[in-house]
């Protein structure tokens, strides 16, 4: 087999088990004697729990136990936490209400669990859950974030007066006010970012067991970050001490952020397995997933952009209300603040920016990071504003953007971020060329001759990945550091195992991480195994989210490889009686430069472990670890251009072409990077055209199944035209920036800019459902006619 190093389109090592049905997901795990959990959930968005009667349920076949919040609290299990402290602009800490895994007193969203049934089979557990009688006294509910801030709105938590969690700001308000006073042109928009449900295809699941002789717990769970799960379960929820708890995230069927958090259900399984004395399995059904997986987005904003007479941006003012749902999920406070407002400068040189974010409780499912997490909201706002402003001042959208691009690096924005490298003209040029942007007039005319409305829209996104420098995020309120760990174990026979704190749930780490080892030592990838996802095997690590596994996770591997390489060279030099500086590694051999002396990598490995002849004072073995803490965020960027055709008779939008030109820094495996972009683009297009978590005024989720929530399907989306344009990130050893979220971040504004161009009405909101597009076109045409 050829050595497939950095830059190779290596086929995935993990694929064989998935295409033959041998993947091992949490729901595939079986333990002897295991029981099944089914949760009793609130049908109300806001209600007092007045009584829970388990009598009937307990008599049903196979039922072992019915557990409630009182028992949970009685056992000393702690509240669920939010791990990122945000302070309001007046300096006060955020107002966080309590969140219990089983609620004994007041439920605050539909689907919140109040009890759990454990039974011999899943069907018995579900039947019995239906038989638990819970009396509720309904309370008025509020689902809209702006309404929740109004006087007289139903109040969710006594800790958060007026439902306000924090009233936060960033940037220089006075400087922005000055800019607007001097402005030659001001563009104003109200922009909303629709609520989404992440929907990884594998629903969440947990299988927990307790060994009473060892006082040891094991939890198989669908997690993107098993070590963080163990830490939180131990330190905050007090379910088990850390050294007595093994968390395993086996094959995980997608996450997109929703599997970062430690939810009530997984924690209850862990607690219940000890209480009932048998392993307990829970698998979410899809409607439970809709009701309880953390949702994404849900921002309402007002934005104003100020230009000087030369069409240079001189100020940007943003006011956002972020809906956080009924409880503060693990990273929920960071998403509408430091992951959002810090990206409001976009790709542009803007001297003054001020953003105010009010974050509020409502009687809806908690909202947290979903693919992009804050950056899609920022990008949508900035890129809708840029396109709209260009239209208002009569400049081409590309020209207006170019006039304001950042072109010298490093570039300090007024909102914390310091962009380290990029070439925004390069990706804009590449995208415009690939999309034949300049030929749009002819295509519009041709479409018009067929009675169709053709439109084109662009989006020049920037985002921040590689989260994150630990001291920096600590100063901003994070409860954890965001470094990553790696251990490279060379076995005595010369095969290599890499233990990484990152977790792969579709990203292909088993392949790309191995490519680093193949590159370094000239080994074939069959000699390399990547180990992840098990707290008993792998040293503490922070997991996978925020496109951090390349820029941070692989950087840790590179640091560990540096140490292994140095030691291997020392051993080889000693064995071949050469100078260490003359040892070169090539094709799986360590050679003495300028001679024919050489040792196979496996011979050096064996020598390290036999330890019969090592340099004076050297420890045996060939195994090194590293922790890598990034020095800065990384800044992937690019231009997306979407071309649509709208049918004026029906309002149906067809995407006829979609071009993505991205700068991800160094690409390790182009095939996998393209796959990440494809998937991200369709999630972004889904947001723009199809997806919306809709509640009625009573807090019932109307879109709680795939029959109601419109997931993008194969015939909703096109094939894509992709390219990458590399500027290396100076902040990490490989120059990587990250590619996991860009597609979802950059695409929604490109789609909406294209549709609004086609229909000539800018008042469009996401998702651009046919009825909405049709109505806007009709009203736009009428206005034009009048």
């Amino acid at each position: 087999m050829a050595v497939e190093g950095i830059g190779a389109r290596a086929l995935r090592k993990e694929d064989k088990r998935f295409i033959t049905g041998k993947g091992q997901y949490t729901d595939d795990m079986v333990m002897p004697g295991m029981g099944f959990a089914a949760f009793v959930r609130s049908p109300h968005a806001h209600a007092k729990v007045t009584s829970i009667d388990s009598t009937a349920a307990l008599t049903m076949p196979g039922v072992d136990a019915v557990l409630t919040g009182d028992q949970l609290v009685g056992d000393g299990i702690g509240n669920l936490i939010c791990g990122w402290m945000i302070h309001s602009k007046d300096g006060s800490p955020m107002n966080m209400g309590g969140w219990r895994a089983l609620e004994p007193e007041i439920v605050r969203h539909v689907g919140q669990a109040v009890a759990v049934v454990i039974a011999d089979t899943q069907a018995q557990a579900r039947d019995a859950a239906d038989a638990v009688e819970v009396e509720y006294e309904e309370l008025p509910a509020v689902v809209d974030s702006v309404a929740a801030l109004q006087p007289g709105a139903p109040q969710l938590h006594p800790e958060a007066a007026g439902n306000l969690i924090f009233d936060w700001e960033i940037g220089d308000e006075a400087a922005v006010n000055d800019a607007f006073e001097k402005a030659a042109h001001v563009t104003r928009m109200e922009i909303s970012n629709n609520r989404l449900v992440p929907n990884p295809m594998e629903p969440r699941a947990a299988l927990a067991s307790y060994n009473d002789a060892e006082e040891h717990h094991t939890l198989y769970t669908t997690s993107q970050n098993p070590h963080v799960a163990r830490l939180v379960l131990s330190a905050f929820y007090a379910v088990a001490p850390e050294h007595k708890l093994r968390v395993i995230a086996p094959d995980v069927g997608g996450g997109f952020g929703s599997k970062i958090y430690i939810y009530p259900e997984e924690m209850v399984c862990l607690w219940a397995s000890k209480r009932v004395g048998r392993p307990v399995k829970w698998v979410s059904d899809r409607t439970e997933a809709f009701l309880t997986d953390a949702h994404g987005r849900d921002h309402k904003s007002e934005a104003e952009l100020a230009l000087d007479a030369d069409n240079k941006i001189i100020g940007f003012r943003v006011k956002t209300v972020a809906n956080i749902g009924a409880y503060m999920s693990l990273f929920s406070s960071a998403v509408p603040t430091y992951l959002y407002a810090t990206l409001l400068s976009g790709q542009y040189d803007i001297p003054a920016i001020h953003a105010n974010v009010k974050t509020v409780y409502t009687n809806t499912t908690p909202v947290d990071a979903y693919r992009g997490a804050g950056r899609p909201e920022a990008t949508y706002l900035v890129e809708r504003m840029m396109e709209t402003t260009a239209r208002e001042i009569g400049l081409s959208p590309a020209e207006f953007r170019r006039k304001n691009f950042v072109r010298s690096f490093p570039h300090q924005t007024p909102v914390i971020m310091c962009y380290d490298a990029g070439d925004y003209d390069a990706t804009l040029d590449a995208a415009m060329k690939a999309a034949d942007y300049d030929g749009i007039a002819a295509r519009k005319a041709e479409a018009a001759s067929r009675g169709k409305l053709r439109g084109i829209g662009m989006s020049c996104y920037i985002e921040a990945c590689g989260i994150a420098p630990s001291a920096a995020v600590g100063s901003l309120g994070a409860g954890v550091g965001l470094w990553e760990s790696a251990e490279v174990r060379v076995n005595p026979v010369g095969t290599v195992e890499v233990l990484t704190g990152s977790h792969s749930h579709g990203q292909g780490h088993e392949t790309t991480f191995a490519q680093l080892i193949c590159e370094r030592f000239g080994l074939d990838s069959d000699s390399v195994a990547i180990v992840h996802g098990d707290t008993d095997k792998v040293q503490f690590g922070m997991g996978t989210y925020g496109s951090r596994s390349g820029a941070v996770g692989m950087s840790a591997i590179v640091k560990a490889l540096d140490k292994v390489e140095a030691k291997a060279k020392k051993i080889a030099a000693h064995l071949m009686e050469a100078s260490e500086g003359d040892i070169q590694i090539e094709g799986g051999e360590l050679k003495v430069a300028g001679t024919d002396k050489k040792l196979n990598f496996s011979e050096v490995a064996l020598a390290a472990y036999t330890a019969h002849n090592l340099p004076e004072g050297m420890e045996p073995g060939l195994k090194e670890g590293a922790f890598y803490d990034p020095t800065n965020f990384t800044f992937p960027s690019g231009t997306y251009i979407c071309e649509v055709e709208v049918d004026p008779e029906t309002g149906t939008t067809e995407i006829v072409s979609f071009v993505a030109a991205d700068d991800f820094g160094k690409v390790i495996n182009p095939m996998i990077v393209e796959g990440q972009v494809h998937g991200g683009l369709v999630q972004g297009i889904g947001q723009a055209l199809l997806e919306n978590a809709a509640y009625d005024e009573n807090g019932q989720l109307l879109t709680a199944s795939y029959m109601d929530y419109t997931m993008p399907r194969a015939d909703d989306v096109p094939s894509f035209n992709l390219s990458t344009h590399e500027t290396l990130c100076p902040g990490n050893p490989l120059g990587m920036k990250g590619c996991g979220e860009a597609g979802a971040i950059g695409s929604p504004p490109a789609v909406i800019n294209a549709i609004t161009d086609a229909i000539g009405n800018n008042a469009l909101t996401m998702p651009a459902a046919a009825e909405k597009v049709w109505s806007l076109y009709q009203s736009g045409s009428k206005e034009a006619a009048e």
Partner: protein
């Protein structure tokens, strides 16, 4: 309880199951073949697609008892003598999967699609339309479509070569 018998991946199997047992539960829980997945409970996502008497079926939508006497093939039964089915191979070669959860259903739907249209007779539009019953959240479908097209074309080449 009912006794259910079927030929599953070429092997005769039978078991006494509760009447309400779904075919997917029979496959996953009774027969411990966990390649067939449950993703939605409403017959929308297609992660549970298998072949029953040669036709694609969502196994979450059929009772095990309804498959009594049938010939059932799951993703585990596609490869023969250790050689991947061309559709399986094409998914790997074209990066047609990421997290792998929807993959077994996608592959079984693709096999069915190629059976119905005939190898070599699938274009992109047809494949996209035919995939209506299978949801993938990772790949954006681009490489799934490419994989199915490649498998279809390759199988056409194979059958020509065999003639």
């Amino acid at each position: 309880m009912s006794k259910v018998s079927m030929v599953l991946n070429g092997k005769s199997v039978s078991a006494d199951v509760e009447d309400r047992t779904l075919l997917v539960s029979f496959i996953r829980e009774v027969r411990a073949l966990t390649g067939t997945h449950v993703g939605c409970d409403t017959s929308q996502c297609g992660a549970c697609v298998i072949l029953v008497n040669g036709k694609a079926v969502k196994s979450c939508t059929m009772l095990a008892a309804q498959a009594d006497g049938a010939e059932v093939v799951t993703v585990e039964g596609l490869a023969s003598n250790g050689a991947l089915h061309p559709v399986q191979a094409a998914f790997r070669e074209n990066h047609g999967l990421q997290c792998g959860f929807c993959t077994p259903g996608m592959i079984m739907s693709a096999v069915d699609m190629i059976n119905r249209y005939g190898a070599g007779n699938l274009d992109e539009d047809t494949i996209r339309h035919e995939l209506e019953g299978n949801i993938c959240r990772c790949t954006g479908y681009h490489n799934i479509v490419k994989s199915i097209k490649a498998a279809s074309d390759q199988m056409a080449g194979m059958s020509q070569a065999a003639e």
